[in-house]
């Protein structure tokens, strides 16, 4: 099935959600198709290699040390491994850092879908005050004093000097390569015909997933996400009640997102999709995350409130939480102990058996531009700062480090 038809079928899935029928009608759970790239940013090996360096390069941030990789670390499931992401030094982020893995397949990015392309998402994260806090003109000029980048941008984009928008394109192209390898995923081997790839427990879990537990009504298709937005009533992360810096961030978000003054003064929670649409019916809605690589990407939910998949299953078994709208989209499932175990066994088959790790690339050095007409090669090189350390982070990282099974 192509990605396009999968998206088309997602509309049907939403229709079904409001009805009672859960069996059938959902896009197939199947291995991911090859990644496609947008017409205005075709993927090439040179672009990917440039993007890989830029992903690691702190020059693309305000203080020179908050590269993309700072909050999307390969060894932490391409996230931070914590409940809520780090945030730029002196600030605190407000949501969990989402994995880069398979982000290529989403039609919208960020938990609230505020961004419609990887290119746009990279730019927004690099500039945002609680993420990269970078100034486009400064980041661009930093790239222009790196001879290796000047050459690479010229080769890849054909420009005399690196342009910052092309940096986001290269990073997006790189991210389109950070995808699941179906051969390493037990469930994908199973769907391709290897009946021994998953256990009997997991097979029963699959039936529950598609049936009694109803997971498939949102987690369907090759991505195991319908890419739609729901309010499942995930509880607030209590840190927003106890830590002033989190409270600052929440209010800052509300201020800059253009909510009403009344809402700005009284809002105490993250209302997700509402900030994009400003439609009150969208309060508390977040995009269904993919369940692929779920074993590497805990903790879970937009605010990381659940440390383990057991907690997630319990949450859904109870019928989710208090929805902002007051109307529950979820119902208690009445799963037995064995059923919960089976479901967890199935969830355990959705990740690659080895993490997709990647070594830090060597970052090219800055070098002052020679005076026009002057012989080059006479200026001392300056070594860039280490790209993902936070030597100046003054705030304790309040989210506890998560141990994964």
């Amino acid at each position: 099935m192509t990605t396009k038809t999968a998206f088309a079928t997602a509309g049907l899935a939403a229709l079904l959600l409001s009805g009672t029928a859960l069996a059938g009608g959902y896009p197939d759970l199947a291995p991911l198709p090859p990644v496609s790239s947008p017409a205005d940013n075709p993927t090439t090996p040179e672009k990917v290699e440039l993007g890989r360096k830029l992903f690691w390069d702190g020059r693309l941030s305000g203080n020179g040390s908050m590269a993309c990789v700072a909050c999307h670390r390969p060894d932490l499931g391409w996230g931070t491994g914590g409940a809520i992401s780090l945030g730029y030094p002196g600030t605190q982020h407000w949501r969990k850092s989402q994995t880069i893995l398979n982000s290529a397949y989403y039609n919208k990015l960020f938990w609230d879908g505020a961004s419609t392309s990887l290119e746009n998402q990279a730019s927004a994260a690099a500039a945002g005050a609680i993420a990269g806090n970078g100034d486009d003109a400064m980041m661009e000029m930093r790239l222009r004093v790196v001879p290796e980048y000047v050459t690479a941008f010229k080769q890849v984009f054909g420009t005399e000097w690196p342009n910052i928008d092309d940096a986001w394109k290269a990073i997006a192209a790189f991210q389109r390569t950070i995808v699941t390898d179906a051969a390493k995923v037990p469930f994908d081997r199973f769907t391709k015909g290897d009946a021994t790839a998953i256990s009997d427990d997991a097979k029963r879990g699959l039936d529950l997933f598609k049936g009694k537990a109803g997971c498939i009504s949102c987690h369907n298709g090759t991505l195991l996400s319908d890419q739609k937005f729901y309010d499942t009533g995930v509880p607030d992360n209590p840190v927003f009640q106890s830590d002033p810096v989190f409270q600052i961030t929440l209010r800052w978000q509300h201020y800059q997102k253009g909510v009403s003054e009344q809402y700005y003064r009284t809002g105490t929670t993250d209302d997700g999709l509402y900030y994009v649409t400003l439609n009150p019916q969208d309060k508390g809605k977040f995009r269904t995350p993919s369940l692929r690589e779920i074993g590497w990407t805990g903790p879970y939910m937009h605010n990381g409130v659940f440390d383990t998949l057991e907690q997630v299953v319990d949450f859904y078994d109870k019928g989710g939480g208090e929805a902002r709208s007051g109307t529950k989209v979820l119902k208690p499932l009445g799963l037995s102990e064995q059923e919960r175990k089976d479901l967890l066994a199935f969830l355990g088959t959705l990740s690659m058996e080895q993490q997709l790790l990647m070594a830090d690339p060597a970052l090219p050095e800055s070098k002052p531009l020679p005076r026009p007409g002057a012989a080059s090669n006479q200026s001392p090189a300056v070594t860039p700062a280490s790209s993902h350390q936070h030597p100046l982070h003054p705030m304790p990282v309040t989210a506890p480090a998560q141990k994964k099974d």
């Binding site: 203080n63 609680i130 100034d135 000029m141 800059q256 003064r265 009284t266 026009p372 300056v382």
Partner: protein
């Protein structure tokens, strides 16, 4: 001078209304042009007194200034909470940072000298390249808070940080009424800037009638300053500046050519100002970024000389480490630049004359500021509905 939008000195005019000067600030440009036309011989016969005592202290809103003082020292006004205004404008270092080229924001190296803030309230232009209107200190503060090379803050974030500090909420309410807000933040710091003044400088005492304020060497230096050395042709009036822009041919600071980080901030500044051909510029083009007129290449504002003894190193790029080097620079007729001010000619000062001039310059320096970093109030938890 052309190209500058607002030239106003109505409210809080730093000039005494009954000035004994021919050089009213409003006509400084004209006066400078007149002086330009005068030969050194004619100038020495000029009876006009180029000097005036420091202007009276501007009226201060105490509540705002008190709040502004805390904010001036508070690093929460920067993007990463590591830099306050005082990081680069340290009262202990003449309200500068003592470096030839200022350090700038984290991960950044700046390309100009951090200017001292003494008497900053009385300026026609602000910034070395004259890109900001001196009558609008609030905009200066906003520029410093938000610029990527200085404090790199999202001021909405700064606003929310301050709203999280109960003491600030109170002080803003007292000073302005209502919540902390961008414009009030800039206004409070601007009010504090108005309090930063030269105090007790011997030459100011002299101008105010204290006959014993200057020693003999200083008195001789004063005559040289106004006469043979020609300093007063630009450094005149109550702030010892003609509030204008000139090219002197100060040598480029080699640290910019040698350091990609400094070159980055310079070229980025040129780029953001819409400067033509910015990628091929290697010299600091000064006021050219404002006017885009090649006649303004290399022009920088005339700095005030008050408190000059506290503000080394000198010039827009800090390339002259001490006053002796400055005197030697002018004695040789300045540097080399196509737009160099025609008045700069070798002065042929004797060793004694140079010493007298240096002695006079020292009389421009007042007391060291006694300001200490105030205790900064802490964050509290939010009262929902209130903040």
């Amino acid at each position: 001078m052309r190209h500058f939008r607002h030239v106003r000195h109505a409210a809080g005019d730093p000039m005494p209304k009954t000035s004994r000067l021919p050089l009213k600030v409003g006509t400084a440009a004209l006066a400078a042009a007149l002086l330009l036309a005068l030969s050194p011989a004619a100038r020495s016969e000029d009876k006009a007194d180029p000097f005036a005592p420091l202007p009276e202290a501007p009226k201060i809103n105490e509540a705002r200034a008190k709040l502004g003082e805390k904010l001036f020292f508070d690093p929460r006004l920067s993007g990463d909470t590591q830099h306050s205004c005082s990081s680069c404008h340290d009262p202990a270092k003449g309200w500068g940072d003592g470096q030839a080229l200022s350090m700038g924001y984290t991960g950044v190296e700046y390309f100009r000298n951090a200017p001292p803030l003494f008497n900053v309230a009385g300026r026609k232009y602000l910034m070395w390249d004259g890109r900001l209107d001196g009558a609008d200190l609030g905009t200066l503060v906003r520029d410093m808070l938000t610029e990527a090379h200085t404090m790199n803050a999202d001021t909405r974030m700064v606003q929310e940080r301050l709203k999280q500090v109960p003491e600030y909420v109170e002080l803003f309410d007292k000073g302005f009424g209502g919540d902390p807000y961008g414009g009030k933040i800039y206004g409070a710091v601007a009010e504090y800037l108005k309090t930063i003044r030269t105090t007790n400088a011997p030459f100011d005492r002299h101008l105010k009638g204290d006959k014993k304020a200057l020693n003999e060497a200083q008195a001789r230096g004063m005559k040289l300053f106004a006469g043979k050395a020609g300093c007063a042709s630009c450094h005149n009036g109550p702030l010892l500046t003609d509030q204008s822009l000139h090219a002197l041919g100060v040598a480029e600071n080699p640290m910019i050519d040698a350091d990609a980080a400094r070159q980055t901030t310079m070229l980025r500044h040129f780029a953001t100002m819409g400067t033509p051909n910015y990628m091929n510029l290697r010299d600091d083009v000064g006021n050219y970024v404002v006017s885009k007129d090649s006649k303004d290449l290399g022009k920088f504002i005339t700095p005030s000389l008050w408190d000059i003894g506290q503000t080394a190193p000198y010039m827009h790029n800090g390339t002259l480490p001490n006053l002796e080097a400055v005197i030697n620079f002018y004695n040789q007729g300045g540097g080399t630049h196509p737009n160099k001010d025609e008045r700069l000619k070798p002065l042929n000062l004797s060793k004694k004359e140079k010493a007298d001039l240096a002695a006079f310059l020292k009389s421009l320096t007042g007391d060291k500021p006694t300001v200490a970093k105030p205790a900064l109030p802490e964050y509290g938890l939010r009262t929902v509905g209130k903040n």
